[in-house]
């Protein structure tokens, strides 16, 4: 292996390390939103049952989470680059394919995170009682 390809590998790995982190962001938002909703509901209902403020808070938090997930999803969609090359699988093992595959995975995770965050918020927004 020559020095040049070693450098290329190192460079490629560095750039993909960012994508690798990026695919965890949407599920992370989902997890934080889930824990925050359930934790806050348990606390408020155990203390004074003042659900109006809680519902407003969950509504705002959900809005912020969804906007962030949509933004991450849009970034991932562009990285996947499906519309230009119509390549669904990216199975060639090249640097470009790895890059696009990570975009593909991040996009699907953003979709499932969007659904998860929406469904977690629905009970809080539609049921106005701790009971």
């Amino acid at each position: 292996m020559t020095e040049i390809t070693e450098n290329e590998d190192a460079h490629e790995f560095r750039s993909e390390a960012v994508s690798l982190w990026r695919i965890t962001f949407a599920p992370l938002i989902w997890a934080v939103h889930f824990a925050a909703c359930y934790g806050a509901t348990a606390l408020v209902c155990a203390k004074d049952g003042a659900v109006d403020g809680l519902r407003l808070g969950i509504g705002i938090g959900t809005g912020v989470a969804l906007v962030a997930i949509v933004w991450l999803g849009w970034q991932a969609w562009q990285q996947w680059d499906l519309v230009r090359d119509r390549d669904w699988e990216n199975d060639q093992g090249t640097g470009e394919d790895r890059h696009q595959f990570l975009g593909h995975a991040a996009f699907l995770l953003a979709v499932i995170s969007f659904i998860g965050v929406s469904y977690v918020a629905l009970p809080a927004l539609l049921i106005g009682t701790c009971r």
Binding site: W88, V111, I115, S118, Y119, L122, P123, T129, R131
Partner: protein
């Protein structure tokens, strides 16, 4: 094939055989009706989905087994596999979640505190001044009013369920849970403990008597009064047996020396519709049978069988308890 169809029809028609006193298919309260409609919507929705998926499967494997175009296949996966279920499940959530609120609201009417014991129900009606009228093993509700139920349990977990009137709620020691009923037609509906709670779990039932509001008010006023003194010679002797055997150390008969809190309040036992938490009637032979054979009729119950009592004593006790109107 025909036999299967007949069996299936039999299963579907089975609920029609009973009186529907303990059936979700005989909704007699606002909440039970909501749940019934919800179940119907879900069932029909599931049926439509099943037919759709099955039909599609038959179409692509039998009727038109050609290779699909890339666009159609992708559309089917994204549309049928992602968008359609997300929208459908979202719609069902938006439709069903708000329905869960009303059965948990306190309502504008009375509050009743129900504590599950092994294996009977302590029932206390909260009056507007905050005082409580104690009864047991029977719930009376006014028709057309939403009554709040505050549920609790002693020692082990139970669950409160009157299928014809509404949903089910866990009863947890040390923690209050809530349910409320809005009965829509007068009648008697059977309730049953719906969470295994020990040897006699299956024998832990009760009757819910839904009454016209004015009848209910009259009944509650009567229930709040102390016990009527024995009216006959037989009943008077029964009261003596009751005192002699120490029944009052576990049972309360308001207006007498009997102030026990361990077992059900017996102040108006004679006016109830069942005995032993929904397992016997309230005729004199039922009382005698229950007192002499409690441990046989309800395994592991706290009350011992008073099988040492003579038939005369049992008859007298039955007359006394039956007279507690």
């Amino acid at each position: 094939m025909l036999r299967t169809l007949v069996a299936l029809a039999g299963v579907l028609l089975l609920p029609a055989c009973g009186e529907g006193r303990q059936s979700v298919l005989n909704p007699s309260g606002r909440d039970a009706l909501l749940l019934y409609d919800l179940a119907l919507v879900m069932f029909v929705g599931a049926l439509v989905l099943w037919l759709l998926v099955g039909g599609l499967f038959v179409y692509v494997t039998r009727i038109n087994p050609r290779e699909m175009s890339r666009g159609l296949a992708e559309g089917l996966i994204v549309g049928g596999g992602v968008l359609f279920p997300v929208v459908l499940l979202g719609g069902l959530l938006v439709y069903s979640l708000p329905l869960m609120q009303a059965p948990r609201e306190a309502g504008e009417g009375m509050r009743v505190h129900i504590t599950a014991e092994q294996w009977w129900w302590r029932v206390e009606y909260e009056l507007p001044d905050g005082s409580r009228v104690t009864s047991a093993n029977e719930l009376r509700l006014p028709v057309g009013q939403r009554t709040g139920l505050v549920l609790n349990a002693h020692r082990v977990i139970h669950a409160f369920w009157v299928p014809a009137l509404g949903g089910k709620a866990d009863m947890i020691p040390g923690r209050e849970t809530y349910l409320s009923f809005l009965p829509e037609s007068a009648g008697t509906y059977r309730g049953q403990c719906a969470e295994f709670c020990g040897a006699s779990h299956a024998l832990m039932a009760f009757e819910t008597v839904v009454m016209e509001p004015e009848d209910f008010e009259a009944w509650l006023a009567a229930e709040a009064r102390d016990a009527t003194p024995p009216q006959t010679q037989e009943a008077t002797r029964g009261a003596q047996v009751f005192a002699r055997e120490g029944c009052g150390s576990c049972h309360t008969v308001r207006g007498t020396q009997a102030v026990g809190q361990v077992g059900p309040d017996l102040t108006h036992m004679g006016s109830r519709v069942s005995l032993g938490a929904g397992i016997l009637g309230v005729t004199p032979p039922d009382f005698a049978n229950w007192i002499a054979h409690t441990e046989t009729l309800k395994p592991e119950v706290a009350m011992p069988s008073y099988d040492h009592l003579s038939p005369d004593d049992l008859t007298a006790l039955a007359a006394y308890l039956g007279g507690l109107q």
